[in-house]
C-alpha cells in the first residue's frame, strides 16, 4: 500500500450522567441507531466505540461513548484514601492507583471504565447539559478527568434550549482552566458545528493537526455531497412532475378521474422523494418507532393540492385556478407539446372557468378539437420544489439525536405564512420562490411526457439527463 496510513485520533466522550453523550455520538456519526438513548440516568453502562472513516474507508477518528460519571465525590474520596500522607503522586498515577484498587471493580465500576478509557485516549470531550446548574459534583468530575492528564474539550449541549445556562457554564469551566469550549446542540447542531469542534481540538492536539485538517476537509466534502445529492433528488422530482401528462377524454367525469390519477401519481412521487431525502441524510422512519414522521400523505401538514398549502408557501395563484375538481391540474389541448404557450393559456382559462360554471368550461373545451391532456399546474410545481428544499434544509440542520418528528408546519418559511395579493414577484427576488431559471427547463419538460418516470411510458433520453443536471445545479444554489 502506497497510501500513507492515518493513525486515527482517539476521543473519549465523557460527562455527567444523562447529558447526551450517546446523542453526541449519534449526531457525529450520523447514525440514529447508535447506542441507547433515554432520559434516564445510567442508560449507557459500558464503553461503546465507533470510528469515522474517510472517503477511502480508512479510520480517522475513534469516538468512545462512556457511561456517565455519577459518583465523582465518592471517587475523589477514595483517591484521597489511596494516597499516603507523605506522597505527592501526579494525576495519572492517582488514577492508576484507583483503577488497581478493589473498589474499581465494585462501587466505582462505571467510573473506573470511564477513567481507564480517558487514560488511553488522545483527548476527552466533556459533554455538558447547559440546562443543568453548575454544581460541585461537576467540578469534582472535571477534577477527576483532569487528573488523567489528557486535554479536555467541554461540549455545551442543548444550547438552543430556553433555560440554558451557557454563560454560567463557560464561566465555571474557565475557573477550572478550561477556556476553550464548543457549542454543539446534538438535536439542532450548527452547520459548521463539527468544523468548530475540530478547530478547537486542533489547538489542543497540535501534533495531530494534519489528521484533524484532513478530517475537517472530509466532513465538509461529505456535507457538500449530501447537498448536491439532495438537489439532484429534487430536480428529478420536478422533472417527473413537470413532464407528467395524462390523456383525457372530454367528458367531465372522466376528466375528474384522470385528475385524481394525476394527483395520486404526483403525491406518491413526492413521498418517494421525501423517503429518498431521509435516507440520504441517514434519517429513517425506524428511528422514530413511537413518533412516525408526519410526512406521509395528509400528515405532511398540508396536502400538495390544497390551495392552503400553496398560500402557506407564498405562492401566488389565480382565484379560480387552484380550486374545484381540477385543482392543481392544467388542461392542455392535445398538441403533442408543440404549441404549449397557447395550450397552457387555454388550460388556465379553462381552469379559471371551472369554478361554479361547468357548462362554460364544457363549452370552451368542446371547441377544442381532439383530446385533452392534463398536466400539473405551475403553482403545484413551485410548491413541490419549495417543500422539498425546505425539508432538505431541515434535515441538514437536524442532529441524529433528535427525537421530535419534523413538523410539516415548521418547514414553512415563517415570513411567508400569509400571502397577500401581488407579492409573488417580490418573493421571487427575495429567493423565497424557486429561481426563475428553472421555469424554462420545466417548460421544456412539459413538452416531453416520455421524460416523466411516473408517466405512461417513460423513455430514456440524454436531453433529460442534461436538463436534470442543470436543474440540480440551480436547486443546489438555492439550498
Amino acid at each position: 500500500m502506497t497510501e500513507p496510513t492515518i493513525v486515527p485520533i482517539d476521543l473519549a466522550v465523557v460527562g455527567h450522567t444523562n447529558t447526551g453523550k450517546t446523542s453526541l455520538l449519534r449526531t457525529l456519526l450520523r447514525d440514529p441507531d447508535f447506542g441507547e438513548v433515554a432520559d434516564q440516568p445510567g442508560t449507557t453502562r459500558h464503553v461503546e466505540s465507533a470510528q469515522l472513516l474517510t472517503e477511502d474507508g480508512l479510520p480517522i477518528l475513534i469516538l468512545r461513548d462512556t457511561p456517565g460519571l455519577e459518583d465523582s465525590m465518592a471517587v475523589l474520596d477514595a483517591v484521597d484514601r489511596l494516597v499516603g500522607p507523605d506522597e505527592r503522586p501526579d494525576g495519572p498515577e492517582r488514577i492508576r492507583r484507583l483503577l488497581e484498587s478493589p473498589e474499581a471493580l465494585q462501587r466505582f465500576e462505571q467510573e473506573a471504565r470511564v477513567l481507564a478509557t480517558v487514560l488511553e485516549c488522545d483527548a476527552a470531550l466533556y459533554v455538558v447539559d447547559v440546562r443543568d446548574p453548575v454544581l460541585a459534583k461537576h467540578r469534582d468530575e472535571l477534577g477527576l478527568l483532569a487528573a488523567c492528564g489528557r486535554p479536555i474539550l467541554p461540549v455545551l449541549n442543548f444550547t438552543h434550549s430556553v433555560n440554558g445556562q451557557s454563560d454560567a457554564w463557560r464561566d465555571a469551566l474557565a475557573r477550572l482552566g478550561l477556556h476553550a469550549t464548543v457549542d454543539f446542540d446534538t438535536v439542532a447542531p450548527a452547520l459548521d458545528g463539527e468544523a468548530q469542534m475540530i478547530d478547537r481540538l486542533a489547538l489542543m492536539l497540535d501534533r495531530r493537526a494534519d489528521t484533524l485538517a484532513r478530517l475537517r476537509a472530509d466532513l465538509e466534502s461529505q456535507r457538500l455531497r449530501r447537498r448536491v445529492d439532495a438537489a439532484r433528488l429534487i430536480a428529478e422530482l420536478l422533472m417527473d412532475a413537470a413532464a407528467l401528462r395524462l390523456l383525457c377524454p372530454q367528458d367531465s367525469t372522466d376528466m375528474a378521474t384522470v385528475t385524481v390519477s394525476l394527483r395520486k401519481r404526483t403525491r406518491e412521487r413526492e413521498q418517494q422523494c421525501v423517503q429518498a431525502l431521509l435516507k440520504r441524510y441517514r434519517f429513517s422512519r425506524a428511528t422514530f418507532p413511537h413518533h412516525p414522521l408526519p410526512l406521509e400523505g395528509e400528515r405532511w401538514g398540508m396536502d400538495l393540492f390544497n390551495p392552503q398549502a400553496l398560500k402557506a408557501f407564498g405562492i401566488q395563484v389565480g382565484k379560480g385556478l387552484a380550486t374545484g375538481a381540477m385543482a392543481g391540474a392544467t388542461i392542455d389541448a392535445f398538441t403533442g407539446g408543440l404549441s404549449l404557450g397557447t395550450a397552457t393559456l387555454l388550460g388556465a382559462a379553462v381552469g379559471g372557468l371551472w369554478q361554479g360554471a361547468h357548462q362554460w368550461g364544457k363549452r370552451l373545451i368542446g371547441r377544442v378539437a381532439g383530446h385533452l391532456e392534463i398536466t400539473v399546474d405551475d403553482p403545484v410545481l413551485q410548491l413541490l420544489g419549495l417543500r422539498q428544499l425546505a425539508l432538505a434544509r431541515a434535515l441538514e440542520r437536524r442532529g441524529h439525536a433528535a427525537w421530535q418528528p419534523i413538523d410539516g408546519g415548521t418547514l414553512t418559511p415563517p415570513a411567508q405564512a400569509l400571502d397577500t395579493e401581488g407579492e409573488g414577484a417580490t418573493r421571487a427576488a427575495q429567493g423565497a420562490l424557486l429561481p426563475e431559471a428553472v421555469w424554462p427547463i420545466l417548460r421544456e419538460a412539459r413538452g416531453h411526457p416520455e421524460w416523466s418516470s411516473i408517466g405512461v411510458a417513460p423513455v430514456a433520453d440524454p436531453r433529460r439527463d442534461v436538463l436534470v443536471a442543470r436543474l440540480a445545479a440551480l436547486l443546489d444554489a438555492a439550498l
Binding site: 461503546e48 446548574p133 460541585a136 433528488l233 435516507k279 430514456a460
Partner: protein, 464 residues
C-alpha cells in the same frame, strides 16, 4: 446454489451494468429490495462505490432471478435479431427476383435499380440526417427488433430488461449506434440476399436489359450509367460503352456480351451503392458502440443509487463495547439500619441546588432546624458531622430538573443510615419528577408537596 454452477466464469462488465440498471429501475419503480444479507457481503468486498453498486446488483440479481431473466431476454434478443436478418435476407432475394422479373420481358434498368436501392437510399439518408442536432433518430427496423424481442421474451421483468438496456445504453451514448448497427445489419443481409439472387438468376436465365423514356433524352441514360458505374469500375465492374448504352433502348438487337456487361454493371451498382455504404455505416456503428460500451460508468447520482451511498460507503464503523455492563445497579448494599436513638426534632437540608439557589425556598416553620445547602464534598463532611445528633425527621430539598444519579442515591443511603426518617421535597417540578420518584421508591423515601405540609404531618415517634 446450483445456479452458481451454471456460470462459473465472471459476468462481462456489460451484463453487470445491465443488471445494475435493471435493479435500479425496479427499485425506483417499485420498492427497494431487502438487501441485509447481501449488504454484508458487499461491505466485505473491495471498496469503491461503483464496484459496490455492481456487486450488490450482482448478488441481488442472482437471488431475485433477475440475472437469469436478463440472460433469457438477451437470448430472445439474439433470436429476434437472427429472425430479423433472415427475414431481411429473404426479402432482399425476393426484391431482386421481382426487380428482374421472370425473364419474359426485358428488364427496365432504371426501375430495377430503384427497386433494389430506392428504399435503402431513403432510409440511409434519414439515418445520416438523424446526426444533425435536434433530430430524433428514427427506429424503424430496430423498433421492429425490439417488438420482436418483446414477443419472444415474455414473463416477469421482460419489459424491465428492455427498458434497462435502453436507459443504460442511452446514458452511455451507445443506444443509437446499436440500433443503427442492427438496422444496417438487416440491410446488409438484404443486400447479400439480393446479390445472391441476382447472381443466381443472371447465371441461370437469359435477361435482356433496356431503358425506356418518354421525357428524357438518351444522353441522360448514358450520363447516368457512367456516373453510377464510375465507382464500381474502380472495383473492376465494367461500364457498357456509350454506344451500347445508347443502343439499349429496346429498339435495337444487342449482342449477348452487351447484356452480360449490363448485368455486371447492375451487380456492381448494388454492391457499391447498396452493400458497401451499409457495411461502412454498420461497422462504424458497431465500432463506436463497442468503444462506448467499454467505458460504461455508474452514475452514483441517479435515483436509486444515490440513496445507496450511505449504506454502501459507510462513513463509520462500530467498534463494539469494552466489556459487558454489570448487572442492574443494586440498591440493596446502600441501605443501612436506621439508628434507634435520635435527638432534636425536624431539620431541612438543600441538596445540590446550585450556588444561586434561594435558600430556604420558603419561610421555615418554628422548630425546624436549617442545615443549609449541601453541594460539595466539604458540605457533605459538615453535614455528616452535624448528623451525629440526628433530627427526628429530615427533609431533603432537591431540584427535580436534575437527574438523580448513583452518587445521589449513595448519599441518600448514607443519610438514611444516620436519620430515622427522611422525606423529599422536589423543587422546579415537573422536571424529571418521574425519574426522582423511581429513585425515591427504590430507596423507601416519601415525597412531600411542600415544607408546610411536611411540618404539619408530624407523625408520632416510631414505637421501636
Amino acid at each position: 446454489m446450483t445456479r452458481h454452477a451454471t456460470h462459473s466464469k465472471p459476468d462481462s462488465p456489460f451484463l453487470r451494468h445491465w443488471l445494475a440498471e435493471a435493479l435500479r429501475l425496479r427499485e425506483t419503480q417499485r420498492e427497494p429490495v431487502d438487501d441485509t444479507a447481501e449488504l454484508d457481503a458487499v461491505l466485505q468486498g473491495p471498496a469503491g462505490l461503483d464496484e459496490r453498486i455492481l456487486r450488490r446488483a450482482a448478488l441481488l440479481g442472482e437471488r431475485e432471478g433477475l440475472r437469469a431473466r436478463l440472460v433469457r431476454w438477451a437470448a430472445s434478443a439474439r433470436l429476434a435479431l437472427i429472425l430479423l436478418w433472415v427475414m431481411a435476407l429473404f426479402t432482399g432475394m425476393g426484391t431482386a427476383a421481382a426487380a428482374l422479373g421472370a425473364g419474359d420481358r426485358p428488364v427496365n434498368l432504371a426501375l430495377a435499380l430503384l427497386a433494389l436501392l430506392g428504399l435503402h437510399a431513403a432510409t440511409l439518408l434519414i439515418w445520416l440526417l438523424s446526426f444533425l442536432p435536434g433530430i430524433v433518430p428514427s427506429t424503424g427496423l430496430s423498433g421492429f427488433w425490439l417488438w420482436l424481442t418483446a414477443k419472444f421474451a415474455r414473463g416477469p421483468d421482460a419489459a424491465l430488461a428492455g427498458q434497462a438496456l435502453a436507459s443504460l445504453l442511452t446514458r452511455a451514448r451507445a443506444w443509437r449506434h446499436i440500433l443503427g448497427g442492427i438496422s444496417h445489419g438487416a440491410w446488409i443481409a438484404a443486400f447479400v440476399g439480393a446479390l445472391a439472387a441476382l447472381l443466381m438468376l443472371l447465371s441461370t436465365r437469359r435477361y435482356a436489359f433496356q431503358w425506356e423514356t418518354t421525357l428524357l433524352s438518351p444522353d441522360a441514360f448514358v450520363a447516368m450509367a457512367h456516373a453510377l458505374g464510375a465507382v464500381p469500375a474502380q472495383l473492376g465492374f465494367p461500364i457498357p460503352d456509350s454506344a451500347v448504352i445508347a443502343r439499349s433502348d429496346g429498339l435495337h438487337i444487342l449482342p449477348a456480351a452487351a447484356q452480360a456487361q449490363w448485368s455486371a454493371w447492375l451487380i456492381g451498382c448494388v454492391v457499391v451503392w447498396g452493400l458497401l455504404p451499409r457495411l461502412i455505416a454498420g461497422l462504424a456503428s458497431v465500432w463506436v458502440a463497442r468503444r462506448r460500451l467499454r467505458s460504461l460508468r455508474i452514475d452514483p447520482g441517479l435515483p436509486g443509487w444515490l440513496e445507496l451511498r450511505e449504506r454502501l460507503m459507510p462513513r463509520h464503523q462500530a467498534l463494539g463495547i469494552d466489556a459487558p455492563a454489570p448487572g442492574p445497579a443494586a440498591g440493596a448494599p446502600w441501605s443501612r439500619p436506621a439508628p434507634a436513638a435520635f435527638a432534636g426534632a425536624l431539620a431541612i437540608l438543600g441538596f445540590e441546588l446550585g450556588a444561586q439557589a434561594e435558600w430556604p425556598p420558603a419561610p421555615l416553620p418554628n422548630g425546624v432546624r436549617d442545615m443549609g445547602l449541601c453541594d460539595s464534598r466539604g458540605d457533605r463532611r459538615r453535614i455528616l458531622d452535624q448528623l451525629r445528633q440526628p433530627p427526628r425527621r429530615l427533609l431533603l430539598v432537591c431540584d427535580a430538573r436534575q437527574t438523580p444519579d448513583r452518587g445521589t442515591r449513595a448519599w441518600l443511603a448514607e443519610l438514611q443510615g444516620l436519620c430515622p426518617r427522611i422525606d423529599m421535597l422536589l423543587l422546579h417540578r415537573p422536571g424529571r419528577e418521574a425519574i426522582w420518584h423511581a429513585a425515591l421508591d427504590a430507596q423507601g423515601i416519601a415525597a412531600t408537596p411542600s415544607i408546610a405540609h411536611w411540618a404539619d404531618a408530624d407523625p408520632p415517634p416510631d414505637h421501636d
